[in-house]
Symmetry: D2
Subunit: 285 residues, 4 copies
C-alpha cells in the first residue's frame, strides 16, 4: 500500500515562469518529501502551467492534515490552483447501469482484483437484471423505485449518495441526467458513449455507424456536462469493422471497446491523473 500524496495544480504562465517549479521543489525538499513522479504541461493556448506531482509521505515532516496551512503562502504567491489527494484514501464510487451490464461486470471485476483503487458504494439501476452480479461482488444494489420518473429518480439517487460518493460512473446508463444533478457531480461523473465522439452524438450510434458505412467504430469516455456527449473527453479507442459486420457484430466489438475505454478513464480519475482545462482533459500517464 502506497503512502504518497498527489498534487494536481495549475498556475498562470506568467507566474509559473518566475520559478514555481523551483519553489515547489524547494518546499518539498525542505520538508523531506521525496518526489516519485512529476509531469508538467504548458498549455500555451490558455497560458497555464499544469502539473502533477507525487511524493512519498514516509519521512515527509509536515502532518498531511497541516499541508494546506504550510503550502498556502506559496499558493498565494504564485496563484496556484491546486488539488491535494492522498493515495491511501479510497474514493467511493457509485455505478449507474441500465439493461446492458458488460461495463458493470467489467468494473466490478477490476475493483475486486485491485485494479481500481476505490470502494464501490452502490450500484443503481432501472432494471433488476444487474442485482445478482452486484450481490456476487458483495456490493449494495438499489433498484430505482419509479424509473420512468426521471426527476424523482434523480432525487432518489442524490439521497442515496448523501455526502458519501466521490465519483459516479455511468456504465451504459441510458437516461439523460438533468442539469441540477450534473452540476452536483461536475467533473466527478464519467460516462461511456458508444461512438467515436464527436461522430454520432446521441442515440443508437452503432446503427448510425452501420448506415454511414464507417470502417472503424469507436467508444469515448468523458466527464458529463450539461450538454449531451459534449463534456471533456478522457479516452477514446476504435476497432476495425468491414462490410461483413452487421449491427449486431458492431455491438459485440463495441462492448470490448466500451469496457476498456471506460475502465481506463475511471482508473486515471481514481489515480488523480486528470486535469480539466476548459473543455479538454490533460491526462498525466
Amino acid at each position: 500500500m502506497k503512502n504518497t500524496a498527489v498534487l494536481l495544480l495549475s498556475v498562470p504562465m506568467c507566474l509559473a515562469r518566475k520559478g514555481v517549479v523551483a519553489a515547489i521543489s524547494q518546499f518539498l525538499v525542505a520538508h523531506r518529501g521525496s518526489v516519485l513522479h512529476s509531469d508538467d504541461h504548458l498549455d500555451c493556448g490558455r497560458d497555464l502551467f499544469l502539473s502533477r506531482l507525487e511524493w512519498d509521505l514516509d519521512g515527509f515532516d509536515i502532518p498531511i492534515s497541516d499541508f494546506e496551512h504550510h503550502f498556502r503562502p506559496l499558493a498565494d504567491r504564485f496563484l496556484i490552483n491546486y488539488h491535494l489527494a492522498l493515495t491511501d484514501y479510497r474514493p467511493r464510487m457509485a455505478i449507474l447501469v441500465s439493461g446492458y451490464d458488460h461495463c458493470l461486470a467489467d468494473l466490478l471485476y477490476r475493483q475486486n482484483t485491485g485494479e481500481l483503487a476505490c470502494d464501490i458504494a452502490i450500484v443503481i439501476s432501472n432494471h433488476p437484471a444487474a442485482r445478482p452480479l452486484a450481490e456476487f461482488y458483495q456490493v449494495p444494489f438499489h433498484l430505482l423505485t419509479r424509473p420512468q420518473d426521471k426527476r424523482e429518480s434523480e432525487r432518489e439517487m442524490l439521497e442515496l449518495f448523501g455526502q458519501d460518493v466521490d465519483l459516479i460512473v455511468l456504465a451504459r446508463y441510458m437516461q439523460i441526467l438533468g442539469p441540477e444533478f450534473v452540476a452536483q457531480y461536475l467533473l466527478r461523473m464519467i460516462n461511456i458513449h458508444h461512438s467515436f465522439l464527436p461522430a454520432f452524438v446521441g442515440a443508437k450510434p452503432y446503427h448510425r455507424a452501420f448506415e454511414r458505412g464507417v470502417k472503424l467504430i469507436g467508444a469515448t469516455s468523458h466527464y458529463v456536462t450539461a450538454a449531451l456527449d459534449e463534456g471533456p473527453i478522457i479516452e477514446q479507442d476504435v476497432a476495425r469493422v468491414s462490410h461483413r459486420d452487421t449491427v449486431e457484430e458492431m455491438l459485440r466489438k463495441g462492448r470490448d471497446l466500451e469496457k476498456v475505454v471506460l475502465s481506463r478513464a475511471v482508473r486515471w480519475h481514481l489515480e488523480n491523473r486528470i486535469l480539466v482545462c476548459q473543455n479538454k482533459t490533460v491526462v498525466f500517464v
Copy 2:
C-alpha cells in the same frame, strides 16, 4: 505480369438463391477458366448478393473480347449487374493537388515502384510547387491557368482528361468540385479527407479536433459525390494524440495517416476490389 480477369457483380438475392454461384462457376469451368480468388457478400439489408471473382485467362477458351457475348444469357437469366476488368489493363490516373504535396509524393513513389498498377496520366495543380516532383517521376504536370475561376478550371481539366482518364485522385486538392464535374467521374474519383468522418466534415478538421480535445485523429478516403464529405467511405485509420500534441503535431501525424489511407483506397480501386452499394462500399480484400 498477371493475365487474369476480374468480375465484380451484384445479383438480387431471390435470384442468387436459385444458383447463380453454381451457374457462374459452371460457366467458367466449361470454358476452362480456373478461379484464383472468389469472395462473396450477402447484403441482407439490401437483398443483394455481391461477388468478386478472379480467374486465370491462360487456357480460358473464350477470347476475352467475346466475353460479353457468351456471358449475356447468364447475366440476363439471373439479372446479374456486372463489371469486367482485365488485370493487364493499366488504368490511367489523374492526380489533383494543391499546396500540400505529401500525398502526391507518396502516390508517385508507390506508382514508380510498382505498388500501384496504373499509369499516371497527369498531375494538375493550382500551385506550381508540385512541378519538380512530377517531373522527377516523368509525369506530365499542368498548372491551372486561372485557378481562382473554379468553373473555368473544371472545364480546363475535363478538356485535358478527354476520354483518357479512368480515375481521378484528389490528393489534398483544396477546391470543392461542382456537381457536373463530379457526375462525370462518379465512383471514379477518390478524395482523402483529413478527419475521421463523419466527425469534422468540411474545413480545418485538425484545428477542430484540437479544439474538441479528441484523443485520436483520423483520415478517411472516399468516393466523391455531390454532397461534401458524404460519399461512400473506402478506408479510415486513426492515430493517437494527447494533450501534448499541438495542432502542428496533429498535422504531422495526420500526414502519415492520409498517405496510407489514400494509397490503400487507390490500390483497392485499381485492383477492382470495391463495389458500392447505395452509399457504402464493399471492399473485397
Copy 3:
C-alpha cells in the same frame, strides 16, 4: 436460433481447378440449400484449395444425418477433405485455469450473455480460488485432487471429460500438458500465451519484455501442440507500453489483451471458422 450447416473443406488444387466450386454449388442448389456465406482461399504454397460454406437448412431437402451419404460421391471425385458442423449443435467446452482468473471470468461472462455459442461442461483448476466464479455462473467446478502430480492430473481430467468435451480452453493454465494428453485434443485445445509469439516463448514473458525494453507487448492464442508455444497461431494483438510501464503495469495491460485475444479464438473455433494447414491457420472471418 440459426438452422444452418457449415462445411469446412480442403481440396488438392489440381482437382479444385476442375470445377469443385461449381460441383458443390450445383449439389447445394439441387437440394435447395441456399448459401448464406462462402469464403475461399487458394494456398498456393501448399497447393490446396480451402473453403468455408454456410447454407440454410430450412428447405434443404436432404436430412442432414444423410448428408454424408449424398455428399460422398462428390467428395470422392474431388478428394475433398471436409468437416460438417451444424449451427444448432452447442459444443461442450472445458476451461482449465490456475491462479489468474481474468480469462476465465471473461469467458464465463461471454458465454452467459450468448456471445459464445457453447455449453461450459466444466471448469478445472489446481487452485480453489476460481470456484465462486464458476458457481455464480452455475458451471461445474472441479479442483484437481493432486495438482502437483501432473500425470495423475491429466488422467483425472481425461476421465472427467469422457467423450463429452469438444474443446478445451487453457485460460492461463500454468502447467505444461503431456504429449498424450495433447494428442487426444489436437486442434481441439486452445491456449493463450501472454506474449507476441514467437517472441518470449515460455515462462515470464512480461518480465522478459520489460527487460528487453520492447515498446509493444502482445498476446497470442494458438492451438496446443506437443512443441511448447509453437502450435498454429489463431489470433494476436498488441498494446503500447513505454518506459513508464513497470512489469505490474504490463501485466495489467496484458490482461486486457489476453481476454480479447483468447475469446476471439474461442469464438472463431466455435463458429467453425478455422482451418489448419500444416502449422498455420486460415481464419474465415
Copy 4:
C-alpha cells in the same frame, strides 16, 4: 526558429532525492531561463533519476558557451551526468542504403519539408539505384568503391564522415557493420529492422513471419550495438496480416511500417528526446 536548450540528464536516485530538481530549477530561474518542457522518470530498477528539460534561451543570462562553467558545481554536487543540446544546431546525418529505397525516399522527403530538423550530409550505398533520388533532393551521393569488401567499405565511410557526421541512419542497409565501426557511432547510429524484435532476429524476417503464420507483422527501430538486432529499442509498430497475405504483401505492408517507425526514431533522436539506460531507451515524448 526556436532558440532553446535541452538538457538530458541522469542522477543517482539517492542524490536526486536530496533536491536535484529544486536545485536545477533554482539555477535556471536565477539565470532567467524559462522552462518550456520538463519530463522526469524514476527508473527504480536502476536507481536513476532521468530527466529532459527544455528552456528558452531568450533572456537566459548566461552565454550558452559558458553553460558548462556555471553548471559544473551543481553537476558535481549531485553527480549529474548530462548532455546539453541547442535547438538551433542542425545535426548532420548520413544515410546508408542498399537496394530498397523506400526508407531513404521517406527520410529525404521529411527532411526536405522540415519535419526532420537536420542536414543530410551524405547518402551512401552499395547500389547506384538511389543516386537520382539523392540528387533530386540535392544531397551528396556516394557509391561505395568496393562494396563486397566490408572492411574497406567501412574505412571508406569513416573517411567520408570525418568529424562531420552526428548521426548515421541505416535505412535498410543490408550489411552487418563491424564492431570498430559500431563503437565509433555508439548511440549515434539507428537501424530499422523489419520485424517485431525480439522475434525474427536476422535475415528474411518477413519470410519467417509468413512461415510461422503470425497474425501481425512488425518493424523495430533501434540503436546499433555490437550484438546483431539487440541494441536499445527506440520504437516499434505492427500491422495486421492474415492468411490472404503472401510474402509479397507482407513486404508491402512492412514498407509502410518501416518508414514510419524509422522516421519517428530519427526525429526523436534529433529532438534530443532519447536517453539510454543500460540496454533500454527512455523516450521523452
